[in-house]
């Protein structure tokens, strides 16, 4: 039952990053590449029409995590207190940027909210990557001080950074050179994804240019990926054990590789849906590979005194999990039905749609 819920939550998270991922990506593209007012407007619209129904997947993932693995939820949310609150604020800034930019016609107003949308999208993409980096690196559970536990075993608290920015110290901060690398991977991946979304949904004048940008970003991503695999070994020497012991897990890195290699042919891809599918594979493959390398651990411990958090020692009761499975399956089907209805009704290019409630 724990495994089932773990898989369900992973799926919801992956869907969230595919859907809201392109919102972050459009923001990044918007920040760096949109020059004309027409392009700015269309790109903002391609995210603005969808962000609130995409955000729901984050709320669902949060709720499911809370229900199924309450100890993990409590531990991680209080442990990553500051970065999570910063993420909240960024989510708010991004949302109001998107909702407000079209409300008044004067230029300064638009510029302010364009920047708000762009910068917070960039930072969110970075922070989500950093979060993933923290999860695979592990934290100092129990707040061990001179070999003695300060808190209960599954609690910790991370400052944003410590002076050394090294993941190898006894008390690593949220931001260190390793998590920044993962953060950059996330930014590049989501920028590619967002660019694909813009090409798919709009007739902007920069669409051709975007294909070139995607190609270059993809090269950067390939380099970063290889580099991250190397440093991952330094940070967590056991990171490949799962793949060696359970070879079928290799399917997840293969998903990632398919996306990565496929995107090198971006200029030849005629169907924009296929390009979008490839960057979705990048996201799914990236998240699932990271999770698979840890399984069944969900938060490794960097000290020897405390056990890592696993799906087993953080889960709710067996009865709770199984009763929730009944409504969970129904809810899950409904989520997909709504999503499909909505995407079908809003399919095609969105340029003509009137935006601004």
């Amino acid at each position: 039952m724990e495994v089932l819920w773990y898989i369900l939550i992973a799926i919801v998270l992956a869907v969230f990053f595919i859907l809201d991922g392109y919102d972050f990506g459009t923001g990044i593209i918007h920040l760096f590449l949109a020059k004309t007012e027409k392009d700015k407007e269309v790109i903002a619209k391609s995210a603005g029409l969808f962000w609130d129904s995409n955000e729901v997947w984050l709320v669902a993932a949060g709720g499911m995590l809370f229900m199924a693995f309450p100890t993990f939820y409590a531990s991680v949310f209080s442990g990553f207190y500051l970065p999570l609150i910063l993420v909240l604020w960024l989510i708010i800034f991004r949302a109001i940027g998107l909702e407000l930019r079209g409300q008044f016609k004067f230029q300064m107003w638009k510029d302010i909210w364009d920047k708000s949308f762009g910068v917070s999208s960039l930072l969110l993409a970075l922070f989500f990557g950093i979060a993933l980096g923290n999860i695979v690196r592990g934290v100092n559970l129990g707040g061990v001080d001179n070999g003695v536990s300060v808190h209960e075993g599954h609690y910790f608290f991370l400052p944003l950074w410590d002076g050394s920015f090294s993941p190898l110290t006894e008390h690593p901060g949220v931001i260190d050179w390793f998590t920044i690398i993962i953060g950059l991977i996330s930014v590049v991946t989501l920028a590619i994804h967002g660019a694909n979304w813009i090409i798919l949904k709009t007739n902007s004048t920069i669409n051709l240019k975007l294909k070139r940008v995607i190609f270059r970003l993809n090269i950067a991503l390939a380099i970063l990926t290889v580099f991250s695999l190397f440093v991952w070994q330094i940070v967590n020497p056991n990171s490949l054990d799962n793949f060696i012991n359970k070879p079928y897990l290799i399917v997840f890195p293969i998903i990632y590789l398919t996306g990565l290699i496929g995107l090198f042919f971006i200029k030849k891809i005629k169907n924009d849906n296929h390009a979008f599918a490839l960057s979705s594979l990048l996201i799914v493959g990236g998240i699932t590979s990271s999770l698979a390398s840890l399984f069944p651990v969900i938060l490794p411990s960097v000290n020897d005194t405390h056990e890592p958090l696993t799906i087993y020692n953080t889960a709710a009761s067996e009865y709770g999990l199984s009763v929730a499975m009944y409504w969970g399956i129904i809810g899950f089907i409904l989520l997909f039905v709504y999503m499909i209805i909505q995407k079908r009704m809003m399919k095609g290019k969105i340029d003509h749609m009137d935006y601004g409630h």
Partner: protein
Amino acid sequence: MEDMIFYDRLQFAFTITFHYIFPQLTMGLSLLIVYFKWKYLRNKVEKYNDAAKFFMKIFAINFTMGVVTGIPMEFQFGTNWAKFSELTGGIIGQTLAMEGMFSFFLESSFLVLFIFGEKLMGQKLHLLTGFLVFLGSWASGWFILATNAWMQHPVGYEILENGKFVLENFSALFTNPWLLPAFLHNQLASVVTSSFVVASIGAFYILREKQVEHGKLFLKTGVIFGLVSSILVAFPTGDWNAKNVAKYQPAAFAAMEGIFETEDAGAEIVLIGQPNMVEKKLDNKIAVPNILSFLTYQEWDKQIVGMDKFEKEELPDNIPALYYSYHIMVGLGTVFMAIMALSAFLLWRKKLYNTKALLWTIMFLVPFPYIANLTGWYTAELGRQPYLVYGLLRTSEGISPTVSSGNTLFTLLGFVALYMLLGLLFLVLVGKTINEGPKPKLH
């Protein structure tokens, strides 16, 4: 430790107060929108359709604000109340996750379709999407109140040796005797808020002599919905809730009603008075004898337990705040009933649209249903203190063990600044929408 609890509580109170401005409008407004759309399908008079679409614009702004201020609520369970989340997550996680999956999704998916899909879908499907938005928003209230009902009156649980609450009976969460009255009371109160908003915008249009036809429709609909809902809020649902508090949280009930000492021969109902916590009595009291006993138990001389019969640790920790919240809610509720009854009477005599003084009153009364709703929520939450889970888990035992008070204070200040900005932008946007009116000039 003490200031940690203080900052955590303050932050939660602040963020939920700001958040609850928005859903209390959207829940009620979605009902009125469905009504307008349904009327349009029946009578094909264009202004009803305009009304539905206009209020959906207002709804959308409020919904967005509700989403962006609602996500912090979910986060805060983990960030600031980690112990509480860990111990009870296996139970209230059920209702909270259901809220996300069953209601929030429904509401947000179909809101987009309602706003953009009228031409694509045709009128009947458009009404259906509006109805699904309504269903989603009310289901949201249902699941949130199921969560709150469990904290007020825990059911269906078992406590393990390590202190964790484990779910033992899922259906008990939804047959909780606390839930239905609280839900109905809450939903009707949100209808009151939205009726006042609709009526107030109508009064504004009439007084400004622009969009008068729409203004009259808004005012009339707002007054009728407002009268019915403000009566139902008080009776039977308010009364039913008060009886529940008396039954399950007698200490909170005594504090709410301002009963310092147990009167064996029946308790008076306090209309006005200020709790004096030093001398343990009410100052400047105006009270009617024996009414409270009658209202609560239908017996004039039935004893109601006063605060003197409880240990200090069992009494709510902020009695004046609880007492005032409750009395402000009840007092405002009475005012709403009176205003709406008078308006309905004048509407029936066809004089309402010309009674300027009343139109001004309705227009400026808009903040007060919000205050009544919020003080109602405070009454429930302050009454539950000093517990998070009534009688079982104290508030002081629920906070995050590793987060220092400095961090909470920092994030609290951040939320205050951010929400001030949000509030300002919200007012500008709503003001702009109202100014443009249901039929903006084509440009």
